[in-house]
Every structure is written in structure tokens, then in C-alpha cells.
């Protein structure tokens, strides 16, 4: 436990810097980033490729130590890999010898959770994410979107209070991606989990989030924080059509210096 001024934040990133040392060079991935995320908040992180977004999530999870500054997760300073989070990577990272359901249950087995309860919870998540009927399919028998849903279920199985997602839908086609966005939005509304989502899609970042953090080129600093002025209840096409949505996406696109929208 550490004495923090803002004990109500789920995630506090306090003046962190990350430098990677290789044989000759030193790469500063993150120059100085501070960010507080409130419990239950959905924060999207966007920025140019290679600016340090994945690095930032690894800091929060404790998979990486900052060169300077500190990260506090759920009131406790991060010193090593944390177990009170759920992590979804860009690639689903499923065990190819396990069925969809068993891949989800890996979380429970690793944690030594009660298997009956975990099984029940897994079935609920399978139901919720529309994977019913594919519980026993092996990963190679699933589509990319389904694999990603399995990874999402696995990350949610132990009901983490913080969910970290690193470009989880990057490999999906546009339509599947939209469906996944709608599903993730619903899951977030139902579970009240705090979410940090790294994405390259500006539309996705705005549709899902309460706030969008725009990072600069490496070495990364926070360029701007955009408050998303949309209602919590977000129908997909209706939201896309709203003027606030257009304003926010156009603004982020400007900040990123893109000529046209690229997802």
C-alpha cells in the first residue's frame, strides 16, 4: 500500500518514463506520461505507431517497470506482474490444443479458482459474447473474431476490476470489428469494469470511451485528452451519426496529423 492523494482512482500513472537500453543505443519510448483513470471509466489511448502505447499497458500490468515515475493500480503501487487485471493482446494468444471453453478456463486453473463457479461464469461469458455452440471448438476452427472473443472472455473470467486491451480488434475485418465494438460496449456497461483500450481506430476509440488520450510521436507525452460527450447508451449507427461524434473524431484525426482516416 502506498499513500496516494487520489485514492479513488483505479489507475494512476504518475510521471512515468520508459527507456529501453540495447547494446549501443538507448530508446526513450515514453518521455513523461501522467494519467488518472477513475473506477468504471473507459479510456481509449491512440497515438502514432511505435509511440509507446503497448509499453504503457505493460507498465500498468506490471509486466514492465518504469525507468522513472510510478504506477498505482487499485490503490497499490505496481512492482511486478499484477494478477488483479485482465489483459487482451492484439493477437488472441490462445492455446491451440485447448477448446474455446478450456482456453477461457485457463484463467481459472492458473488462479486455482473454484472450478464449478468458474465453469458457470465461463458459460455466462460464452453466452454473453455469442460463442454458444463453439465451446468445444479448437482455436483453428474459430474465426479471427471468435478467437478474439474467447480472449476477451478469458480476460473477464475472474471479474477483474481493470481490463487492459492492446489493439484487440486490429486483425478483424471492419464489420466484425463493429460487432465486437458493440459487444465490448455492452460488456463494459454490464460489468462496470475499468477499461484501458489501445487502438488505431479513431472511430472505435471515440465510440467506446469516456475519454480518449492522444499520445505524441515517440518519445511519448500526452498530447491531448478528449472528453467524449456522448450518452452512455450508445447505439452504433445512431452514435456514428451524431455531430459530437464527428467533431471528436475529426479533432483526433487532426491531432494525429492524418490526412485521411485510417483504421
Amino acid at each position: 500500500m502506498t499513500g496516494t492523494l487520489n485514492a479513488t482512482a483505479a489507475v494512476e500513472i504518475d510521471n512515468v518514463a520508459v527507456r529501453f537500453h540495447s547494446k549501443r543505443t538507448e530508446v526513450t519510448a515514453i518521455e513523461q506520461v501522467s494519467l488518472d483513470v477513475a473506477p468504471g471509466e473507459f479510456v481509449s489511448i491512440v497515438g502514432p505507431s511505435g509511440c509507446g502505447k503497448s509499453t504503457l499497458l505493460k507498465l500498468v500490468s506490471g509486466l514492465l517497470k518504469p525507468s522513472a515515475g510510478s504506477v498505482t493500480l487499485l490503490g497499490e503501487q505496481v512492482r511486478g506482474p499484477r494478477h488483479d487485471i485482465g489483459f487482451v493482446f492484439q493477437r488472441a494468444a490462445l492455446l491451440e490444443w485447448r477448446s474455446a471453453r478450456k482456453n477461457i478456463l485457463l484463467q481459472a486453473e492458473m488462479r486455482g479458482m473454484n472450478s464449478a463457479e468458474a465453469g458457470k461464469r465461463a458459460d455466462e461469458l460464452i453466452e454473453m459474447t455469442g460463442l454458444s455452440g463453439f465451446e468445444n471448438a479448437l482455436p483453428h476452427e474459430l474465426s479471427g473474431g471468435m478467437q478474439q472473443r474467447v480472449a476477451l472472455c478469458r480476460a473477464l473470467l475472474h471479474q477483474p476490476r481493470v481490463l487492459l486491451m492492446d489493439e484487440p480488434f486490429g486483425a478483424l475485418d471492419a464489420l466484425t470489428r463493429e460487432q465486437m465494438n458493440v459487444e465490448l460496449h455492452r460488456v463494459w456497461r454490464e460489468t462496470g469494469t475499468t477499461v484501458l483500450l489501445v487502438t488505431h481506430s479513431i472511430a472505435e476509440s471515440v465510440y467506446l470511451a469516456n475519454r480518449v488520450i492522444v499520445l505524441t510521436q515517440r518519445p511519448a507525452v500526452v498530447k491531448e485528452v478528449i472528453e467524449v460527450d456522448l450518452p452512455d447508451e450508445r447505439d452504433y449507427s445512431a452514435t456514428m451519426a451524431r455531430p459530437e461524434f464527428a467533431t471528436a473524431t475529426a479533432h483526433i484525426r487532426d491531432l494525429l496529423g492524418a490526412v485521411t482516416g485510417h483504421d
Partner: protein, 273 residues
């Protein structure tokens, strides 16, 4: 997807007819060489004569076959267990890896046939020196393939495991080891063929039983039909043991074999190495 069983048998037939045809062609050529008198009969016996001998002397051969098979399997199992343990130690400890690797390589490049007499001096004429040679031959591919397999695990998967908090033992049992199994099996399949060679080499050096002994005896007596018969039995033993492993792999790793292409292609590629 599990193929329907009818499809499955048709698949087996489709995959086997080419090698079977090749084998038949070899037999025909062998037969032609002997009937045309191209080569003297005492140098190359005809296939018919060889198979007659196989049938006539079956009980004699069977005893020796069993001895060689026993030595092979024992050597293979010891090499498998030691090889996997060694690989695990090497993957988890940099120090062990850097210390053991040069020694391992050295042990691998020494011709086993050259050190086999030493084992006979040390261990006598029983089965022990043969098993030791078989172990030495089979050990290396098991270690190399298991190390490769254990290292092939997706780094993100291991990071994910770290966030799940299962600790190193669970991570090994549930993620690393199963992920290494396809590589391990590839190594085991090479190892079993080498274990057969090792056992026979051990028998060459000093023995009064086993197929290596049979061949050596036949050689001394200029008994080429028996020599050929011995060679055929050794090959059959090697192939059967190999197929047994292939079967075990298919049963244990259905997720792997179902994704793999033509089994016979890999079978031939690995068998040739």
C-alpha cells in the same frame, strides 16, 4: 474437424499407394538382378530365397529380434527421459545451458562406433553397453528438439500467464510443456531410429545375441541370405517403432496432427534424417 472414418481409410490408401508401389518396384528390380544373373547369387540372394530363410529361421531370428528391440526401447526411454530433463534444465537456466551445450555437442560429434568398445570393456558383454550406445545416439535429438519446443512458446502467452499468477510450475505444466510437444515428438521420432542403430552398433562391437550379432555371424560365414534377412528385420523393427510413435503422437496431439499436411511426407522426411 474429424474426418469421417470412410474418408479416413481412403486417405490412408491414397497416402500409402505411392510408397507401396515404390517398395514393390524395388523388390521387382532386386528379383530381376538375381534371376538375370547380373550379380552372382552368393553376393545377392534372390528375394524369394531371403524370405524363405526368414520363414525357416524365424524362431532363431525372433529371439535375436527381441533382444535388439529390448535394448532399443530401453535406450530410447532412458534417452527420452534424460533428454527432456536436460532440455528443461537448459531452458530454465542460462548457466546450465552455456555449460552443458559444448559438452553435449562434443558428445554428439564423437563417433559412437569408436567409443562403443570402451563400453564393452567397462560394462561387459551383456545388454548394458548396447543400451548405453543407444542412449548416446538418441539423446541429442531429444534435447535439441525439446529445447526448441520449450523456447518456441509465444512470449505474449507467457506474459499473459504472468498476469494470471499461476507461478512457474503451472505455467510449465499448462503452457510451456504442451506447446513443446510437437517438437518433442519430432525429436523422439528421430531418436527411435537412432536408438535402433545404437543397439545394433553396440552388438557389432561385442555380443553373442541380437540382430547385430546375427549380421556379424552371417558376414563371417558368407551367409548372404541371412545377412539380408537380418537387415530386413532391423528395418522392420525400426519402422514399426517409428509408426508406434507416430500413432502415439496422433492420439496425444490430435490438435496438431489434424492441422498437419500429408502425414506420409513428414514420415518420409523424418525417417530419412
Amino acid at each position: 474437424m474429424k474426418p469421417v472414418s470412410g474418408d479416413r481409410w481412403r486417405g490412408v490408401a491414397e497416402r500409402s499407394w505411392r510408397p507401396a508401389a515404390l517398395l514393390a518396384a524395388c523388390l521387382v528390380i532386386w528379383h530381376l538382378i538375381t534371376v538375370t544373373g547380373l550379380v552372382e547369387a552368393y553376393l545377392v540372394p534372390s528375394p524369394g530365397k531371403t524370405f524363405d530363410l526368414l520363414v525357416d529361421k524365424w524362431s532363431y531370428l525372433w529371439g535375436h529380434t527381441w533382444v535388439t528391440t529390448y535394448e532399443t526401447i530401453l535406450g530410447f526411454v532412458v534417452a527420452g527421459v534424460l533428454g527432456v530433463l536436460m532440455a528443461v534444465a537448459m531452458v530454465y537456466s542460462r548457466t546450465i545451458e552455456s555449460t552443458a551445450y559444448p559438452v553435449l555437442l562434443f558428445a554428439q560429434v564423437i563417433p559412437k562406433i569408436a567409443i562403443a568398445p570402451l563400453f564393452v570393456v567397462w560394462l561387459g558383454f551383456g545388454f548394458e553397453p548396447k543400451v548405453v550406445v543407444a542412449v548416446l545416439m538418441a539423446f541429442f535429438p531429444v534435447v535439441i528438439s525439446t529445447v526448441t519446443g520449450l523456447k518456441s512458446v509465444d512470449a505474449e502467452m507467457l506474459e499473459l500467464a504472468a498476469t494470471m499468477g499461476g507461478g512457474p510450475v503451472k505455467t510449465f505444466a499448462k503452457i510451456r510443456f504442451p506447446a513443446a510437444l510437437p517438437h518433442l515428438f519430432a525429436g523422439l521420432k528421430v531418436a527411435i531410429t537412432l536408438a535402433v542403430t545404437g543397439a545394433v552398433v553396440g552388438e557389432f562391437v561385442g555380443s553373442n545375441e541380437g540382430l547385430g550379432y546375427v549380421i556379424l555371424q552371417a558376414n563371417g560365414n558368407m551367409d548372404t541370405p541371412m545377412l539380408f534377412a537380418g537387415l530386413i528385420v532391423i528395418s522392420v523393427v525400426g519402422i514399426l517403432l517409428f509408426l508406434l510413435l507416430e500413432l502415439a503422437e496422433q492420439l496425444m496431439l490430435p490438435w496438431h496432427s489434424s492441422r498437419r499436411g500429408a502425414a506420409v511426407t513428414t514420415l518420409l522426411a523424418k525417417g530419412g534424417s
